[in-house]
């Protein structure tokens, strides 16, 4: 078998093999069972709570959890705005990079606080080291927020009837100290030993092979890259993200980084089973997610390995596959695999330019973000999938003529209304945003000529991708789009905010409502939700919603581009 394909298969199997024990560990962390890291981090937790004056033993209801989450995020948003708009004169700016204008600072602050990491700037020339370190902190906070709120939903899905669901601050701190920090340290050390810089010194000078003297940017890259992947953040230290040799030096680090970014989203699925003691349900969810992931991955890897017909028509050999925009050290297969992994989960880091992928691959990347529930981001991936489960339970209940129930709790009108609002929000934001941008561009193509590097089908795809990436809190981009403009900075900022918090508020509100309901023991008449049949039903619901909502837009973009090439 082709060694490139073997590399991809090995990476996926390695990720699953690591995710299962990590899921068990995360389950222990949120069930407050003892773990081997307790001795190290219990004193740290206590010190944090003593300094902040928080009583971690106080039980909170679902509204208090959400209020805590929003308050933490709003405060960090303001801090981020102040730092980014003043970093030119603040410390740790050895390269003398400028402060950001308001619109770009808004986009960047929202982007990192919401775990999106959409970057309308280039790290080398647009960010001081203080700015990078602040963004690194947000990468911990946004990921910790996602894991903590997911833990709240886990608590709500336990069999007992309760209005209180643990303490958000406790979940948040444990997410950071017990899960994110230790693994980040391990990954960062691996990257340092493979050549990734970790320094606060400014640019270095080197002489290139042709004798030119060039300035090379560096910085605290290894730590940044480690949490960028582990927290499914995705924001690169450098503009080229993980295609840059300092961020991703070789094929081994490529395996490490791609495994790291998929690790927690997969592990959270297994953690659900351990926390609520329903492992069969976890395997059903994992099966559906994996089926969706492979359906998008396999055609993409094949399409990239087969090469680009447009380049082949120019008489250029495509023996190595479609290599425009890809790094030779990774190859077509690993780049294709990464492109789907990073869009299916909400990382958004890249090791190759998505703008250069074949149209089918571009469509699959967008579909991964449009569905946004095949593994998904840390914590929020499960919440998105939870919405699809609620919809599938309701539809299945109607089909078999029974009252819809999930885990012994009745699904009623209130839960369905919230689920529908959340399910429709994602396509609404993407399609309305893309339609607005298209209207502006076609109304004044001369003024907005800088937006699109490729007008026509691909240009439409670039705009569709940008809003899809923002709404999925993904952060990757079809880099042909000139996106550092007031319109894109403001519009994408607003979309990122709405698309981050409403899909958190909705599922937590549903979970809170379910937790307060009377538990009904399963009987022969109960619709079983941990079977393969129900898994297929959930998959069908996802496919139908995605197809109905996004197929027309995809037809105008990548599908039309595919037929124009063939």
């Amino acid at each position: 078998m082709n060694t490139e394909i073997l590399g991809v298969i090995f990476t996926y199997i390695l990720t699953v093999a690591l995710a299962i024990p990590l899921g068990r560990y995360i389950g222990k962390v949120f069930n407050y069972e003892s773990t081997w890291l307790d001795k190290v981090f219990n004193p740290v937790d206590k010190l944090f709570f003593r300094l902040s004056g928080i009583d971690a033993a106080t039980e909170m209801n679902w509204k208090q959890h959400l209020a805590a989450l929003l308050t933490i995020n709003a405060v960090w948003f303001i801090v981020s705005m102040l730092v980014l708009t003043n970093m030119s004169w603040l410390p740790l700016n050895p390269d003398g990079n400028p402060s950001m204008p308001g619109d770009l600072a808004f986009n960047t602050s929202v982007s990192f606080v919401t775990n999106t990491n959409l970057q309308h700037y280039s790290g080398e020339g647009g960010m001081s080291y203080l700015g990078q370190l602040i963004l690194m902190l947000w990468q911990f906070i946004s990921a910790g927020t996602g894991i903590a709120i997911c833990a709240v939903v886990f608590m709500a899905l336990k069999e007992k009837t309760s209005d209180t669901l643990g303490n958000f601050y406790s979940f948040f701190v444990r997410s950071c100290t017990r899960i994110l920090l230790p693994i980040t340290c391990v990954v960062a050390v691996i990257l340092v030993f493979n050549g990734t810089p970790m320094t606060l010194e400014g640019k270095d000078t080197m002489i290139s092979l042709q004798g030119d003297t060039v300035q090379v940017s560096r910085g605290p890259v290894a730590a940044f890259v480690a949490i960028k992947h582990l927290g499914t953040n995705g924001g690169g230290f450098f503009g080229a993200n993980s295609a840059h040799p300092f961020e991703n030096p070789n094929y081994f680090t490529n395996i490490v980084e791609i495994t790291t970014q998929m690790l927690i989203p997969m592990a959270m699925v297994f953690a659900l089973g351990f926390v609520i003691k329903r492992r069969k349900l976890s395997w059903m969810i994992f099966g559906v997610m994996s089926m969706g992931f492979l359906i998008l991955t396999i055609p993409t890897v094949i399409a990239e390995m087969n090469g680009s017909p447009a380049i082949a028509n120019m008489g250029i050999a495509q023996g190595m596959g479609s290599m425009e925009g890809k790094e030779v050290r990774f190859g077509a297969a690993a780049s294709g695999y990464w492109s789907i992994a990073t869009t299916v989960i909400s990382t958004g880091s890249i090791n190759s330019m998505h703008d250069s992928f074949t149209p089918i691959s571009g469509m699959n990347q967008m579909l991964g973000m449009m569905i946004n529930a095949f593994y998904g981001g840390v914590g929020v991936g499960i919440l998105n999938f939870f919405i699809f489960i609620i919809l599938a339970v309701f539809i299945s209940g109607l089909m078999v003529g029974r009252t819809p129930e999930f885990l012994g709790k009745k699904i009623e009108a209130k839960e369905m209304k919230i689920a529908m609002v959340v399910a429709l929000l994602h396509p609404f934001l993407i399609l309305v945003g893309t339609a607005t941008a298209s209207h502006l561009y076609t109304g004044n193509p001369t003024e907005y000529a800088g937006w699109l590097s490729n007008p026509s089908h691909h240009g439409f795809g670039q705009m569709l991708y940008e809003f899809t990436s923002s709404s999925a809190n993904n952060g990757s981009g079809f880099e042909g789009l000139g996106d550092n403009t007031p319109f894109w900075n403001t519009a994408c900022g607003l979309v990122m905010l709405l698309a981050r918090y409403l899909p958190i508020i909705g599922p937590v509100a549903i979970a809170g409502a379910l937790a307060g309901k009377k538990y009904i023991p399963e009987s022969n008449g109960t619709l079983k939700t941990d079977t393969a049949t129900f898994g297929l039903m959930v998959f069908a619901v996802i496919a139908i919603i995605a197809a109905l909502a996004f197929f027309p837009a995809l037809t105008l973009g990548p599908i039309a581009e595919y037929f124009s090439l063939h």
Binding site: I78, M81, N86, A105, P486, G493, L494, L498
Partner: protein
């Protein structure tokens, strides 16, 4: 020293600037963006307020989802 450097110094705000932005608006986002960013402190405050308004909206959503 601090007020000279921090972009958010209140005394530097010119509320007439908002009127200028309004007058320059002709449906062109590039023009309004340039106008907005000519005064960094105003631009920063406007975008902080915008962000906080959206966060406030989410608190309303919590109550709305409770009563829906």
């Amino acid at each position: 020293m601090f007020s000279k450097k921090v972009n958010l110094s209140i005394k530097h705000l010119k509320y007439k600037h908002l009127t200028q932005i309004h007058k320059s608006w002709n449906g062109n986002w590039n023009v309004i963006g340039k106008q907005l960013n000519t005064q960094a402190n105003m631009s920063t405050i406007i975008f902080i307020v915008l962000g906080l308004l959206v966060y406030a909206l989410f608190y309303k959503f919590i109550h709305w989802f409770e009563k829906i």
